[in-house]
């Protein structure tokens, strides 16, 4: 099934008699039963106003098309969405709908916010085939309940997105990355906390244990970058020797897409925790590979296939998502009252349970 318009999609959904698997570019590794319902036919940028920092696009629009259109006006998707293809071994063209449905946010999340923070409005088809809109295309909007946030990261289980409107931001004129040689994760998180707690607007804070260094990104106007790099070196100089990276943009693409794990065996988990809990948790995991982003708040772990990593979480609060692998539930089981709310919401938005059934619980 591959509708070309929102109307066709609504008709298809209304006429469904069995579950479907909703796909955009098919790069984010959504497995599931049912026939494929592709939204790539709904494609194209509907509106782009650089002076208002807003863009509206149909969900099947390739991310690459959107980024190219933004670049012409010196703007970008500030939440820096990851490209999952290398990590998951998928092919195809990532779409903006997939980014939103999975709330995909990259290293700049620590400073600029997540995909959901840049999502201003949605249109979607609910489980009965009704077209629903929520939010709009303006930055400040508290008119009614915020279903926009609820749809972001709902992985298609609440509705089939058809159109999204996004806040965009100016491209940085310049960027530099400060490298700090550190001795272990505990020291790395301390260095990142010091950097993120400084007034110098660090827009990326990651730790690569294999390289043994922390990466701190500064972006902005050239003069401002030079000044803040100098200040930041002072802030983190006490943690270890400091140097400048040669290829800042390339390094951060690598962090964003977790290139260190590409082509490596094992399950891949994405773990979201309070940064200061990260070093202790990382030790408990017994992972074959680790990468820390978001100042330690995001851990990528590569472990033996089939490992029940959640059993090693202990008393650390946060959650784990199985990004690559099949032996465990993809999403963290929720406490009973919260799980009940989520289940009832899915039931109300998709009463027949046809959208990506079982994916989120």
């Amino acid at each position: 099934m591959r509708p070309e318009t929102e109307g066709q999609l609504a008709e298809i959904v209304a006429g469904l008699s069995e579950p479907v698997r909703i796909v955009g570019g098919g790069t984010r590794g959504v497995a599931g039963r049912g026939a494929e319902l592709s939204v790539v036919g709904l494609s194209g940028i509907e509106l782009y106003e650089p002076g208002a920092l807003t863009l509206v696009a149909k969900v099947g629009t390739p991310v690459a098309d959107i980024e190219a259109a933004l670049a012409v006006e010196g703007q970008r998707l500030a939440f820096e969405p990851m490209d999952h293809r290398g990590l998951l071994g998928t092919t195809g063209e990532p779409t903006i709908g997939g980014v939103v449905a999975a709330n995909v946010s990259g290293p700049r999340r620590v400073q600029a916010g997540a995909c959901r923070d840049f999502l201003l409005g949605v249109r979607y088809v609910d489980g009965l085939g009704q077209v629903i809109k929520n939010g709009g295309r303006v930055m400040k909007n508290v008119t009614g309940y915020d279903l926009v946030k609820l749809m972001a990261g709902s992985w298609g289980t609440l509705g089939v997105l058809t159109e999204v409107s996004l806040k965009v931001l100016p491209l940085a004129e310049d960027e530099e990355t400060v490298l700090v040689a550190v001795d272990g994760a505990a020291q790395a998180v301390e260095a990142m906390s010091a950097a993120l707690g400084s007034p110098f607007e660090v827009s990326g804070a990651a730790y690569d244990p294999d390289a043994g260094h922390v990466l701190l990104r500064i972006e902005g106007f050239a003069g401002s970058v030079a000044y803040r790099v100098e200040q930041l070196r002072g802030v983190v100089g006490g943690f270890g020797s400091v140097s400048m990276a040669d290829d800042s943009a390339g390094l951060w693409r690598g962090i964003r897409d977790v290139t260190a794990f590409h082509g490596q065996d094992g399950d891949v988990w994405r773990i979201s925790v309070k940064p200061s809990d990260a070093p202790r948790l990382a030790e408990q995991l017994g992972a074959d590979g680790l990468l820390f982003d978001w100042g330690g708040g995001l851990i990528w772990a590569r472990v033996l296939v089939g490992t029940d990593l959640r059993a090693k979480m202990g008393d650390v609060s946060g959650h784990m998502t199985l990004v690559r692998g099949t032996g465990q539930a993809k999403f963290q089981p929720e406490p009973a009252p919260v799980a009940l709310i989520s289940a009832q919401l899915r039931q109300r938005f998709d009463p027949r349970g046809f959208f990506n059934p079982g994916l989120m619980g």
């Binding site: 959901r116 309070k274 109300r348």
Partner: protein, 482 residues
């Protein structure tokens, strides 16, 4: 304002309810005397008043849970209340309701600079959150104008914004977790100190739900390190349209100011008379503020001035000192007070796409002549959030109604221009009946489905957000079930 008929059966249970609540709360936390409940009859939208049946002031999550469980069992509506600063009637009681005030819950539970978070009880005021972390040079970013008085509980309920949200976002972008009590008394933890949701983003829909899904008792908030400095530039134009183009060009240039404020003739004159800020005599005034080190500020202001000059401003005033900055901001910050001194006024809160600014201002001017009521415009220009202030005379019969009709026309205009009814004040009772102009019945049904899940009996903050016409069947079903 039409409100549902008070439920006589609920009113008849008052004595029993008081007795049950007194068993779980200290004596002074249950307010049932009619003279005292009057203190809760309205919020900052003072045009509408209705004393509640009673008011309670719990001091802990457990006490909130006890109160809600009892009210749930008794079938009594509950209106949560932060500091009562809502401009939309978000905390307006119904005659058969219990006001649940969180004012006694104002502790800081945890400050954690390494993880850049603070956990507070929800009755704490917005400004005192910053106050708790200022000694380490941190701050809590959302800054609604009422920040001295307004509570985090209300900020979460209304997803409050502020002048600086162009750079820092609004409440939802700075809220990481809540402890919330459901209407049946169940306590849930949503989110925490980590940055994203592990399942559905329930926090995202709780924030901005106007106290209709649960009572938030604790919140985990992001705190940020203060910038090294900030300074504004004042730019005056002879024409609204040109000022609008200037805003758009600043944004397109790659600079992200922390605030871009816009004032029109009437507001400029009122502010000048009131505060003697020394504003130039002009048609449109912009205040643009940037942050950073001294050199960074100079660089950004230099670029802004260069852009502004291309639009032939009548005056440009770049602040060189803290004193000059304070003077530039003085008028803007006293805008509402200045207008209030001139007249009674009604403050609107629609948002429009920035590109529609000239058209919308022109149309508001035409409507103003048609209705015979003057309008001043103060406006967060960077994000399109308008605050038209309609002047009227509360003592003149019919003037309030005329003003409300005019206000509704302006808000519909905002929606038709591609914007929305409310950018930061919330729907409350004030804009409830305009919701069908922005959303279809199906759109509202999707939102109400969320309410059905969290609060199946529809007891929390009744008669807000949704037009009474679309909630009728749900309210009737509730009464029939009793």
């Amino acid at each position: 304002m039409e409100m549902p008929t008070p439920n006589a059966a609920v009113l008849a249970r008052k004595a029993r309810l008081v007795e049950r609540l007194q068993r779980v709360l200290p004596e002074d936390a249950v307010i049932h005397d009619e003279a005292e409940t009057r203190a809760y009859e309205c919020d900052a939208l003072t045009a509408y008043k209705c004393p509640p049946m009673l008011a309670v002031l719990p001091a802990s999550t457990q006490e909130v849970s006890d109160v809600l469980r009892i009210c749930h069992e008794e079938g009594v509506p509950v209106v949560p209340r932060g500091s009562g600063t809502s401009l939309a009637g978000g905390a307006l009681p119904t005659a058969d309701s219990v006001i649940l005030g969180v004012a006694r819950m104002n502790d800081v539970l945890e400050t954690d600079y390494a993880n850049r978070i603070i956990r507070v009880q929800s009755g704490r005021t917005n400004l005192s959150v910053t106050g708790a972390v200022e000694e380490e040079d941190f701050f809590y970013a959302p800054d609604p104008s009422s920040q001295l008085a307004c509570a985090i509980a209300g900020n979460v309920a209304m997803n409050s914004g502020g002048a600086h949200c162009l750079k820092y976002g609004v409440t939802t972008n700075n809220l990481l977790g809540v402890t919330m009590v459901m209407m049946d008394g169940t306590v849930v933890e949503i989110g925490g100190a980590h940055l994203d949701a592990g399942g559905l983003d329930l926090l995202g829909v709780i924030c901005g739900s106007e106290g209709q899904l649960g009572v938030v008792t604790e919140a985990t908030l992001r705190i940020l390190r203060k910038p090294e400095g900030a300074r504004p530039v004042l730019i005056a134009f002879d024409d609204n349209e040109i000022a609008g183009h200037c805003v758009s060009d600043i944004i397109k240039s790659g600079i992200l100011p922390v605030a871009i404020e816009f004032m029109d003739t009437l507001c400029i004159k009122a502010c000048e008379n009131f505060s003697k800020a020394g504003y130039p005599d002009c048609h449109a005034l912009l205040i643009v503020e940037v942050e950073g080190s001294e050199a960074e500020i100079d660089y950004q202001l230099g670029k802004i001035v260069e852009i502004a000059k291309r639009h032939n401003p009548v005056e440009l005033r770049e602040s060189q000192s803290a004193d000059e900055s304070a003077k530039i901001w003085l008028g803007r910050k006293s805008a509402f007070g200045a207008m209030g001194q001139m007249n009674d006024y009604m403050c609107l809160d629609g948002t429009i796409p920035v590109s529609s600014l000239p058209m919308v201002l022109r149309r508001i001017g035409e409507l103003s002549e048609q209705y015979g009521l003057p309008v001043g415009n103060v406006f967060h220009a960077g994000d399109g959030n308008m605050h038209p202030l309609i002047l009227f005379d509360a003592n003149k019969p019919g003037d309030l109604e005329l003003c409300e009709e005019f206000g509704a026309e302006i808000l519909k205009l905002c929606v038709d221009a591609g914007g929305c009814l409310t950018g930061e004040h919330g729907v409350g009772v004030e804009k409830r009946d305009l919701m069908l102009h922005q959303y279809t019945a199906e759109d509202l049904e999707a939102q109400m489905a969320v309410k059905d899940v969290f609060d199946p009996a529809w007891l929390l903050n009744p008669a807000k957000v949704f037009p009474l016409s679309v909630t009728e069947t749900r309210r009737e079903a509730k009464i029939a079930a009793e």
